[in-house]
Symmetry: C2
Subunit: 310 residues, 2 copies
């Protein structure tokens, strides 16, 4: 079988769980990750290495990583805000670290209490550490609020591209763009990813789109047409109701996979098994709403993955 | 002020109302149409001229048309299934007639109890009538189930294109493509509209997309990039819950307008006033759910229409 055309990077167990009030028991997290893996998902952001007092949902981060790395062929990603988090993530065996670096001055201060420049230095510190003790581990810098900010409003494109370049210069292997607050539109997505590629070449990373205003899939389509081949998404759109203020409104993995597979773009993911992976999520977070139009509507009559539908 | 770049054709008062259980009182319909017009909407499908015993929601079709034609610059569209309906619509003063012609053999028989060939003859009869008594009135043939059918599954592309060409040959001024059941994907949308344009040139008409599986806006984007400049949409996504079996899941006008305006593609519609036009809809159909991510999330901070957002 040929390798997939694109990589769907599932962020639910980190980004999703971090945004909800409830805490999913560790055993449920592991069942959920196993189900995602069984569906063919090959990159999962499984945890965030932050102080447990700040984020009790992630207190079991090391245990989750230690389990996930037993799944062959899975890239186990962990969010780390700084060198201390990176040390813990590397000790647990994570394959890839991701660091959020905000292009909005206001958001950076509000979110991590650091300026953008200070965050670039954190990227450098984490990169140095990883080169020293785990040189095979990859490091991604995700430029958040790349398409606008609820605090600051517009975020200049120059700031976004310059920051991504600084992260690469500081040692990151790749830098992607995140529509943290759901402001992006397809024309802007094309423009920014084109500029990103012109600036950092094949170190241009994932598109992390939100569906807050309904444009999530349209923005992913625009990114795909601009050459992006890695897409973040969250099973069931976990990350809170897209309507609620402050909610993340992550792109729904099931709908994103359906769109690409229907287009004949292979994701390597079995949609039916992906939909089945909602069960451990729902069981582990009772009462938490999950989203997704494709799971509700069902697949089209006669729909077969791996064929181009006319 | 320059003319808009695209035409948003609001179908809620016909397509939307036809799909819900309740019947909106005539006075509310008129208030709703007035509010859409005030927001800048310049084409509205206001009614369906079918026997009132089949569709009591449309019993006031002639009254609604007679009011709508008093709004200067508004193109008042009416759905007609046959010559008899066309006579009534023309008598009321409709500016444009639209006829649904299904590319799916099974759907055509189930929906209108006619074969595709019989429906092409209906188009011819309506075109002849309109040329005789109201030659300024436009006639659109909308090819339904153009992207697949819940009864038949795949619908051959050749059938779709051939049928559109037959409708044009029978006298229709334009022919658009409808994703009646929400099966379309962006690659297919591009392919089919490209073929449609190759076949019938500038008689290629509107994209009527549904959001049943979440791909509505992505499909509209694909159609736009293929040169389509008229888009059907329904305020509040009226046409029933997109999750429910049999529901239409129309693309939400508010989200579609937001997408295009954010991209710098001018619709001529004021988003705030468009959102205000939800009030008479909600008042006229108490208890009916309305959808839309942009109305719930609000516009981005600092968002101004008519500017390109970076």
């Amino acid at each position: 079988m040929n390798p997939p055309d694109i990589l769907i990077s599932e962020v639910g167990p980190r980004d999703g769980l971090q945004s909800v009030k409830g805490t999913m028991p560790t055993a449920d997290k592991l069942r959920w990750i196993d189900a995602l893996y069984a569906a063919g998902v090959r990159e999962i952001e499984v945890a965030s290495f932050v102080p447990a007092r700040l984020l009790p949902q992630m207190a079991d981060a090391a245990d989750v990583v230690r389990h996930a790395v037993t799944l062959p062929g899975l890239t186990v990603m962990a969010l780390v805000p700084n060198r201390k988090g990176a040390e813990a993530a590397l000790a647990a065996g994570a394959h890839k670290l991701t660091m959020p670096v905000s292009a909005s001055v206001a958001h950076s201060l509000a979110n991590v209490r650091k300026t953008r420049e200070e965050m670039v230095e954190e990227v450098r510190a984490v990169s140095d550490l990883r080169r020293e003790i785990a040189p095979h581990v990859k490091l991604e810098a995700g430029i958040s609020t790349a398409f606008g900010c609820t605090l600051q409003g517009d975020v200049p494109e120059d700031d976004v591209i310059q920051l991504a370049a600084q992260c690469i210069a500081a040692g990151a292997d790749e830098s992607g763009l995140s529509d943290t607050v759901g402001y992006a539109n397809p024309a802007q997505v094309r423009r920014l990813f084109r500029r990103l590629r012109a600036e950092i070449g094949d170190k241009a990373g994932a598109a992390h789109m939100h569906n807050t205003r309904g444009l999530g899939l349209a923005n992913c389509l625009a990114a795909y047409e601009e050459g992006v081949r890695t897409f973040d998404a969250s099973l069931g759109g976990l990350g809170g109701c897209p309507y609620a203020p402050g909610a993340s409104g992550n792109v729904v993995t099931e709908d994103l996979v359906f769109m690409f597979e229907a287009m004949g773009v292979r994701t390597g993911i079995d949609i039916q098994k992906l939909i089945a992976a909602r069960s451990p999520l729902i069981a582990g977070l009772p009462g938490e709403p999950v989203y997704g139009m494709t799971p509700e509507a069902g697949l089209p009559k006669g729909f077969m993955q791996g064929t181009v539908h006319v």
